[in-house]
């Protein structure tokens, strides 16, 4: 049973944007759109977050900040680029200090276009991202199981694998 899709907590970070998308992200929390209906909560803490909403293009100064936020988030996690600036740099693309979109620093899972992105589009993007989040969870789970299996096979040998491991690995 997956609970990660039922309570995705989000953190939002504003790169070098005009703040338009940032305000639209916050508009999702207001009574008009009420994103908490889906169990989505705005946390200011990367260690509690599952969804990373990035608005605005990335510049040289905030590159390490974005990287650090991404690395502090526990798996499974997804990144959503909100607005055209976060997608590929937008109107700021040719500026001397801009690296480009969010995907120049962190792997982006969902792109939400728009200038500014409408709250409906952002909610749609997050809901699309939830399917990816679930996929990632299963991937992490399989990876752990594989590592566990390898460890036990190294310690006990394949013939003497503990019975409990058969249950974990094969599900019987």
């Amino acid at each position: 049973m997956s609970f990660v899709t039922k309570s995705p907590w989000m953190i939002h970070y504003d790169g070098s944007s005009c703040n338009g998308c940032d305000i639209e992200v916050l508009a999702c929390l207001t009574p008009m759109y009420d994103i908490e209906r889906f169990g989505i909560k705005n946390t200011g803490n990367p260690k509690h977050a599952d969804v990373f909403l990035l608005t605005g293009s990335v510049n040289e100064k905030n590159k390490p900040v974005i990287q650090q936020i991404y690395e502090q988030m526990p798996e499974p996690k997804i990144v959503i680029a909100v607005g055209i600036c976060a997608c590929d740099g937008g109107v700021f693309k040719e500026c001397y200090n801009i690296c480009g979109g969010a995907d120049t620093v962190v792997p982006v899972d969902v792109y939400v276009p728009g200038c500014a992105a409408r709250p409906e589009a952002i909610i749609d993007g997050v809901v699309k991202g939830l399917a990816i989040l679930e996929e990632k969870r299963l991937k992490v789970k399989r990876k752990t199981e594989k590592a566990l299996k390898k460890h036990y096979d190294e310690v006990y040998g394949q013939e003497h694998r503990p019975l409990i491991m058969e249950v974990v690995i094969n599900g019987k």
């Binding site: 309570s7 907590w9 946390t43 992490v140």
Partner: protein, 287 residues
């Protein structure tokens, strides 16, 4: 004795469910007060189960142990209370649990967690006199600290301990970590303190903190309930109703006040303890 063990088992099994449902109801009521629809009532359970599925990131290994101790001692607190044990002991164990949480905050070494831990210490200092006076009040009224003897009383403790009751519900805002006194966990101020004490907890550790809060809330509402029992069935109904009403009023206060500075927390805590609490005990002493 048999009844006590049944009550204890019921508490151990069902307190997290009651606490979680109360937290879910809190979120819905809060949303409705703000003109929103709000999450489903089971949302706190989804949150905690999700946290169990997340990757575990621990800064300092010992912090998980401290948080586990926090959960354990909070459970023991309620255990003493619902098994009809010593009220004073239950309150001391609750303080010990808070101490473990504070140490867990300090040991992470994060500046946010550290400030959160300092504020938590301050909150303990603010509410502790009134919580102790509550226990003393029950002793002066019934002649016993034991919960099983307190519930045998013929008159409602509320009638004689009305000042203590007002003082106790006053400091409940601090204990429930509600605005205006949510200084250490910072529910509403991500910009200021990230998540305060909880900043460095993630995954299972954070889930343990949540579950501990559910147990703690049930214990605190149990203490409110204790003011109204006098051995009759209708007093039990009244006690539960008042406990739920208290919780609702706390949510209402939470939504109507901005956060205050720590000085106000300390002043409110001690002022209520000295005025309504202490005066009530004095009157009781001379009666």
């Amino acid at each position: 004795m048999g009844m006590n063990i049944i009550a204890l088992l019921l508490y151990l099994l069902f307190a997290p469910f009651v606490g979680g449902l109360l937290a879910g109801a809190d979120r819905i009521v809060t949303a409705r007060m703000q003109g929103r629809v709000g999450p489903p009532i089971l949302q706190p359970f989804y949150d905690v189960l999700k946290l169990y599925q997340k990757e575990q990131i621990t800064v300092n290994k010992v912090q998980d142990f401290y948080v586990f101790c926090f959960l354990l001692f909070v459970i023991i607190t309620g255990g003493f209370f619902f098994a009809g044990g010593d009220l004073l002991l239950a309150i001391f164990v609750l303080t010990l649990a808070s101490a473990f949480l504070i140490v867990a905050g300090y040991c992470a070494g994060s500046p946010y967690a550290e400030i959160g831990a300092e504020r938590e210490l301050l909150q303990v200092m603010s509410y502790e006199p009134m919580v102790l006076m509550t226990a003393v009040g029950f002793y002066m009224f019934t002649g016993s600290f034991r919960v099983e003897e307190i519930i045998q009383t013929q008159t409602m403790p509320f009638v004689y301990l009305i000042g203590v009751f007002i003082g106790f519900t006053g400091i409940l805002t601090i204990k429930f970590r509600k605005s205006p006194f949510d200084l250490s966990m910072s529910h509403h101020a991500h910009q200021e303190l990230v998540q305060g004490l909880q900043t460095e907890f993630s995954g299972k550790t954070l889930a343990m903190v949540e579950i501990a809060h559910w147990y703690e809330n049930v214990f605190l509402l149990g203490l409110v309930f204790l003011f109204f029992v006098n051995g009759t069935a209708w007093s039990v109904v009244l006690g539960v109703a008042v406990a739920l009403l208290t919780y609702f009023i706390e949510v209402f206060i939470d939504n109507n006040y901005a956060r205050m500075k720590w000085e106000v927390t300390l002043k409110v805590g001690w002022f209520t303890a000295i005025t309504v609490g202490f005066v009530n005990l004095l009157v009781l002493n001379f009666m």
